[in-house]
Chain length 339, copies 2
């Protein structure tokens, strides 16, 4: 046998036409049971597999989804944000459960990313994932919508299209963190992260956090905020700069766990004790969080559910069904860094 078997080969050996082979293999009710059996046997013997390219070409769909992972351009090349890796895992599983394949692709946030997986008929839809500067992306989103490309987006909202977003209730998560610190009477709080509209998720976390404090009659000081992207390094440097400027605080809310871990390192280095001197709360509950010293209190995002919802919503969009905005409830995981 030279090359891979085609449906014609099977037709030949089974003594039927190629049309019948195709029908038999796809369990068309039109085919006689005996014929089907014979076809299946020959197919198995020849180790026949349907050529997906031919099949997809004809049916104009691919049973494949594409995942675009945006990385913070300044992040260390070698390490990928563990939160997104966890998401990737759950998305892969959710795809498999639905009988879809998953194409994974990394995109640099800075570069002019392309979402041509659907245009080229390689995928039926696209999942966008990352802590990107979504402000820059709204134009891109518009053109995707215009081209009728099916996509869903994690975290950030798409103008006028709430149905295209799945996200954690970042605002509510921020409130959870604030309430926790307030219960321990740690009212003098620093915030590390980007609270601008460029990082909508971080922004929402900060808003919820601030509002909860406000509702307790406390106004957070702008001086106690430091900008950081979601890396350990960035969290470390931001916190160092606060310390260097002699800014005092007895608690710290980081916009992500990686930032929190960097913050803890900076605090320790400065001889500031966690949690005795400063209570620290992060966001995400990445795997590392439970192993830090002290273990990190954090707001957990349910990545398993998130992956499922992204895939489910995208498939609904592809099928033309109506999708509603999906907000997933966060939960507070209390560990040693704030007890």
């Amino acid at each position: 046998m030279k090359g891979k078997a085609t449906s014609f080969d099977i037709a030949h050996y089974a003594g039927v036409s190629q049309s019948t082979v195709s029908r038999a293999l796809r369990n068309s009710p039109l085919v006689n049971e005996e014929t089907r059996k014979r076809v299946f046997e020959v197919a198995k013997q020849l180790n026949y597999k349907v050529d997906k390219n031919a099949s997809n070409l004809r049916t104009q769909q691919s049973s494949t989804l594409a995942l675009l992972l945006f990385e913070d351009p300044t992040a260390d090349e070698s390490q990928i944000n563990p939160f997104f890796l966890a998401m990737l895992g759950s998305i892969t599983r959710a795809c498999a459960a639905q009988g879809y394949d998953l194409l994974v692709s990394f995109q640099s946030t800075s570069a002019d990313w392309q979402a041509d997986y659907e245009d080229s008929h390689r995928a039926d839809g696209i999942i966008l994932l990352g802590y990107g500067d979504y402000v820059d992306y709204q134009a891109k989103f518009s053109s995707l919508i215009e081209q009728n490309t099916k996509f869903v987006c994690w975290g950030a909202s798409v103008d006028n299209r709430p149905d295209l977003t799945v996200s954690c209730d970042n605002y509510g998560g921020g409130k959870l963190a604030a309430a926790h610190l307030l219960r321990a009477n740690r009212k003098d709080c620093a915030f590390i992260g980007d609270a601008s509209e460029h990082s909508p998720e971080f922004f929402a976390r900060y808003q919820g956090f601030k509002d909860e404090f406000n509702q307790h009659g406390i106004t957070l000081s702008e001086r106690k905020m430091a900008n950081a992207i979601s890396t350990e390094e960035s969290g470390y440097h931001a916190t160092r700069s606060l310390i260097a400027n002699n800014i005092h605080f007895n608690s710290l809310f980081a916009a992500s766990d990686l930032i929190a871990i960097g913050a803890i390192r900076a605090l320790k280095e400065a001889g500031i004790k966690v949690p005795d001197d400063v209570h620290v709360v992060g966001f995400d509950n990445i795997a590392v969080a439970s192993f830090t010293n002290p273990p990190l209190t954090t707001v957990q995002q349910d990545t398993t559910l998130a992956g499922q919802m992204l895939v489910d919503n995208l498939l609904k969009l592809i099928r033309g069904e109506v999708v509603e905005n999906t907000l997933l409830p966060p939960s507070l995981i209390i560990r040693g860094s704030s007890i």
Copy 2:
């Protein structure tokens, strides 16, 4: 414009034949420069993208690789081994660098996994990754080879085909770990992991470890070995059972970092101090390792290089080039758990 543009649409608007469009877009030297320019303009205007299915069908190749990730069936559903996630990241990058797409798929080690991505022409080759029980897989490997499926395998060797394997020098890594413990005179050592032929990687690590001790005239006691798969839980329980049996040791080598982290938890719980009472060394250098308490000494595998080599070797196999067995050098990362 209804539906997506095809090369015929472009041909129509550019006033040339469809053949010429195809040639122009693929920069064939046969096409006149002006014609090409016109074609490109029209293509851009219509937002044309080559239909990959049609293209792949005709050329019989897909510019896509498939990654099969095997999970330990007993591992926690929700969490994926961080070492493999790191590999996934580097493989994705390596693929992108070579202009290939990557299909990711999780496979349960227990189930009868299928590698039909190549048979169905969806991928040009397959990367196998996981701590599977490779003994069971040799038959599968044989049939893959017989069908002329292109694949490379991380870690475990394929009978008679060293060129299909990329792995870390696990034996050498084991020796590194042993030499390190011996330098600190921690000769009374426990081993946690599976040292059977079912886990060839763990087995090699143990062999190297043992041989290094032997070369120093020390024979490791079988009583101080406990079986574990690569999870924190498993490492925890294995270590607990050693302690429960009153087995004494002043150092511990774990076949993987996750196991080591579980072991540290068990030791702490039993009031045994790390590193004072017991030095602990792991294997992999996963991201968590530097955040444990104390930070974990471990044998590092270069995941970036590993991903590159897997992709490079696979592409060579696909192109019919000769590939040599690839052994990547490990390196020892010394941290607080053994100082």
